[in-house]
Symmetry: C2
Subunit: 180 residues, 2 copies
């Protein structure tokens, strides 16, 4: 499974793609997109959109994972963030990729095991989980990789859950229960 | 001058293009874009972006005018609105069109003459200014036409201002002052 994580931001947008099989993760690509500061706001959005569109075409992930934000410091910062997030979701939709959203606490819990983990903890865990030489930086890159890892963990969890709840599993349980 | 006004919204995005020459305005096209309610949020954004991109290619305006929002009811509504506004600004940038932003009060002042005008007043004034048979409805369409008209009025105003502040104009004024 190849998951492309995005951490949209009005100034800089982090991205990170990982490949996972059987509990092992491999880094495919990661980085951040930023327009020159001389660019107008619409041009900045175009840079984010164009960058993500070409990355998605290149790495061909199975899905896109993105942080789901309902709360922001202020309406003004939410509005700015919304613009960047809008063009990121658009790029995913145009590439015909499903978008899965995760709450910030879910992401931290999946990566660090604790919903209120600090940014350096997230960066260190990503370094460990992906077997990197250094913690990914700036934090937008780490956050993009974190949401991608969160999706892998959640999907694996969901699969495990589904298998447990399926008939054969319950039969197995009852068979076990009948054996002394 | 051909101005394309956009009133982005997460549910429905209004648009309106007008052509102006010498104080007279003519409606080129107006309407609203909405995705089926069954569409996912990224698909809704794609519908807005695709719709605006094809309209801009068809009507070939000189510029795009859009309401500049800094305040929203809540961070959550600002975030949702930001997504729609982001893909709208992207469509304008991709079409290599300048984007001009106006504050809500500026728009109302330009159209109705009063910065705190109510929506029905704006709709009625647009009907009058464009010589329409009926007031444009829903209000997203009226709001898109309002920001386009605001840009025409402001540009004309700016041109008038520039002419007034230029040397010949001040000479004219001083010439007048010297005449009894």
């Amino acid at each position: 499974m190849r998951v492309f994580g995005i951490d949209p931001g009005s100034g800089r947008t982090g991205y990170g793609c990982i490949e996972s099989s059987g509990g092992r993760h491999r880094l495919v690509i990661c980085g951040s997109l930023a327009a020159p500061s001389s660019a107008t706001f619409p041009q900045q959005l175009e840079a984010i959109h164009e960058g993500l569109a070409s990355l998605l075409a290149r790495v061909r992930p199975d899905c896109v994972a993105v942080e789901n934000i309902f709360h922001a410091k202020s309406a003004r910062s939410a509005l700015k963030l919304g613009h960047a997030r809008g063009v990121a979701l658009l790029a995913a939709s145009e590439a015909r990729l499903p978008v899965i959203e995760y709450a910030p606490a879910e992401i931290k819990r999946a990566v660090v095991g604790y919903g209120r983990a600090e940014k350096p903890q997230v960066q260190q865990m990503i370094k460990l989980l992906l077997g990197l030489d250094a913690a990914p930086s700036p934090h937008d890159v780490a956050d993009a990789l974190a949401v991608a890892i969160c999706h892998v963990h959640s999907s694996t969890g969901a699969v495990a859950e589904r298998i447990r709840s399926e008939k054969p599993a319950s039969k197995l349980r009852s068979w076990r229960a009948y054996r002394p």
